[in-house]
């Protein structure tokens, strides 16, 4: 894992002092809320329905047990004993007092964490593959590249007042576990013909009210030009992205309105100019960062044998573990989606426990996933049973990874000031309807995603089944959509037709899964069947 040096630490410490001063000025009445707002937003502090919400960055979703413990400490000391892991691999606290915020940031800084640029119209936390460094299918660890981008994007003088927020994801395998194509910039590391590692750039993806899949704009950017190319992409956006309408201000609209070819031409022109300026850190800097991400000291004699006689353990292993690149090891997924729970929530005690388990079983490392779960990336197979027992005791072993109850849901109207409808109760009711794990496994991989408003924080456009909560004449109404995907088979979901009330949407979900069970052929996932048979049979079942 990356370790701060004196320079990184000094930057984060300076930010804490700056925000302490800004908060003092606000509390003393020297700043109005209007003046304070852009300052607190750059520090991830939102004013929500009931309290301040603080979003803490977890760069590329990687953290160690000490950092995880700090997240538990903050939940306990400053919040109501829990935190909420988000779709951008961050954590949010929903009940924060403004006067505590500087102390929280100071606590975070002691473990090399911060809330810098977790909101505001700037470059946000860089996200990545939660299996980075462990997955058997990656060509390189994408995190050194993400860290290089983190440093470049932190306190960027030119790109801190962009037309709108800006999200970057970096992956390094063909399987896309990070919804890369739905980011403002998606980067896939690849080898070129001569075996050199570089970056393929996709620009202009996104969800929100105008979902778009980012087109490829360059097939190969060499490592020593990465920052030049990113600068070029951002400069064209900063200069020409729309600022007249908040809802048309994301880069996807610019790329769409200019056309991919014209946007690319402008970027290439800027890129040629950037190359003359020497803004890119030398390869030695990427090499320095890469040193921090070396493989842990695996036991090379570890066995691949697993005793699966305990049937509950077997189900969990089948569903929640993933192949590791190292023989004798597995990637273990901790589902934060218990039946009837709030997707992505974890109590302070659970956070502490996951930290302890990471230390004991996973070389001190944890990951946060964009699907709002936690990963222990390097677990010896012979330790899996003991790990599972401890998780199970703490309610952390739902064996439902990528099944229908492993839902993404935004905080919705229970917390969020933008929401039109509640998301959490709908997630809970669907979870209860499909509580039987045998039934869930019968349905197979099924990604269900719920947003409480058109801003799509719950990724409903990318759901095999998507649900969008809207306000219809003062009543919450839920629209159903089918066929989306945030993975390598990326696609945008299509709306089925008129919406449903809260109980009606649960019935509707059941009906479309019945159509799948009826019409599927061998080996087809829900989304495959939908793609093959189209919308009509589903509509017939829902509205016929």
């Amino acid at each position: 894992m990356y370790k701060y040096d004196q320079y990184d630490q000094a930057m984060v410490d300076a930010r804490v002092e700056e925000f302490r001063d800004q908060t003092r000025r606000r509390l003393a009445g020297e700043l109005t809320e209007d003046q304070f707002k852009p300052l607190r937003l750059m520090n991830g502090l939102y004013l929500q329905l009931h309290a301040y919400m603080l979003r803490v960055a977890i760069p590329y979703g990687t953290l160690n047990s000490e950092q995880m413990k700090m997240l538990g400490h903050i939940a306990r000391k400053y919040d109501r004993g829990y935190g909420h892991f988000t779709t951008r691999q961050n954590i949010q606290y929903n009940w924060i007092k403004l006067e505590d915020a500087p102390d929280i940031l100071a606590d975070l800084a002691t473990v090399e964490m911060h809330a810098i640029q977790t909101s505001g119209n700037c470059i946000r936390n860089i996200s990545s593959d939660q299996f980075a460094g462990a997955a058997a299918d990656e060509i390189a660890d994408p995190r050194p590249w993400a860290e290089l981008l983190r440093q470049w994007s932190s306190f960027h003088p030119e790109f801190s007042y962009l037309p709108r927020k800006f999200k970057i994801a970096v992956i390094a395998s063909d399987e896309d576990r990070a919804a890369m194509r739905l980011h403002d910039i998606g980067i896939q590391l690849i080898h070129n013909d001569t075996g050199e590692l570089g970056a393929k750039f996709f620009v202009g993806g996104g969800m929100g009210r105008t979902p778009m899949i980012g087109p490829e704009i360059r097939d190969f950017v060499p490592a020593d030009e990465l920052i030049h190319y990113a600068e070029a992409c951002l400069r064209v956006y900063n200069r020409y992205g729309r600022r007249d309408n908040k809802y048309k201000a994301r880069i996807k609209i610019l790329v769409h309105e200019l056309g991919t070819e014209e946007y690319t031409r402008q970027v290439e022109e800027e890129f040629a100019h950037m190359k003359t300026l020497g803004l890119n850190p030398p390869l030695a800097e990427l090499a320095r960062i890469t040193e921090f991400f070396h493989d842990p000291a695996y036991d090379t004699r570890a066995s691949d044998e697993l005793d699966l006689t305990d049937p509950d353990f077997r189900i969990w292993v089948e569903q929640n573990t993933h192949p590791h690149k190292q023989a004798g090891y597995a990637i273990a997924n901790i589902s934060l989606k218990p039946t009837g729970g709030i997707p992505g929530d974890a109590s302070a005690d659970q956070i502490d426990l996951m930290a302890d388990l990471a230390k004991q079983y996973s070389f001190d490392e944890l990951r946060v996933t964009h699907a709002q779960n936690i990963v222990l990336p390097h677990v010896k197979k012979s330790d899996l049973y003991a790990l599972w027992q401890k998780l199970d005791e703490a309610g952390l072993a739902p064996p439902n990874l990528d099944l229908i109850s492993d839902m993404i849901a935004c905080p919705g109207l229970d917390y969020c000031s933008l929401a039109n409808a509640r998301s959490i109760p709908v997630a809970q009711k669907i979870g209860e309807r499909f509580a039987d794990i045998g039934r869930q496994k019968e349905l197979g991989e099924l990604k269900l995603k719920i947003s409480g408003c058109i801003n799509a924080c719950g990724h409903h456009h990318a759901g095999h089944i998507g649900i969008l909560g809207v306000d219809r004449k003062g009543v919450e109404n839920y629209q159903l959509s089918l066929g989306g995907s945030g993975a390598e088979d990326v696609s945008l979901a299509k709306i089925t037709g008129p919406g449903f009330d809260e109980d009606g949407i649960v019935d509707a979900v059941e009906k479309v899964t019945d159509v799948y069970l009826r019409d599927r052929t061998d080996g087809e996932r829900f989304v495959d069947t939908y793609r093959r048979i189209g919308m009509a049979p589903f509509k017939e079942a829902l509205y016929g």
Binding site: D5, P38, N121, F155, H156, P157, S160, N238, P281, A284
Partner: protein, 146 residues
């Protein structure tokens, strides 16, 4: 009009800035004011005779002026670069790093707050093309590998 504050030893120019259109139509003007939607590259053929470029920030959240400033400096503009309009103390450090020499804010700026803001961060992560000791300073990655 509020007074112009400078970030460095340069003394503020008292040339009167004209609009971009006015500047391009006149052969003797030495100061110009750029609005966010205008293309600063139109000034590139005329940099040598320009003593002052004012970059207007009608609202602080419109960040196009930062790119305008960077482009001018990257192309060797050596005259005074001044931010005007809705310039707040918390934006000054970024302005300085993008090559601005001075600011004339709509709302008066507190001198001490200005100094605090300009000196807040001990280092920078990015290289920019500014020419002053602070805006042109070496990024962390360069210091790491010296």
């Amino acid at each position: 009009m509020n007074k112009t504050i400078t970030f460095n030893d340069r003394s503020a120019s008292d040339a009167a800035a004209v609009s971009l259109e006015g500047f391009l139509g006149a052969s003797n003007a030495t100061a110009v004011r750029i609005e966010p939607g205008e293309d600063v590259r139109e000034l590139l053929p005329h940099l040598e005779r320009l003593a002052l470029v004012e970059v207007n920030f009608p609202v602080f959240g419109d960040g196009r002026g930062y790119s305008a400033a960077q482009i001018l400096r990257e192309h060797g503009f050596a005259g005074e670069l001044r931010a005007i309009g809705d310039v707040l103390v918390d934006q000054l450090a970024y302005m300085l790093r993008c090559g601005f020499d001075s600011a004339r804010a709509d709302q008066p700026l507190n001198e001490q707050a200005v100094q605090d803001a300009l000196n807040r961060y001990p280092q920078v992560y990015q290289k920019t093309s500014g020419t002053s000791p602070i805006s042109g300073r070496r990024p962390i990655w360069e210091i790491r590998h010296e």
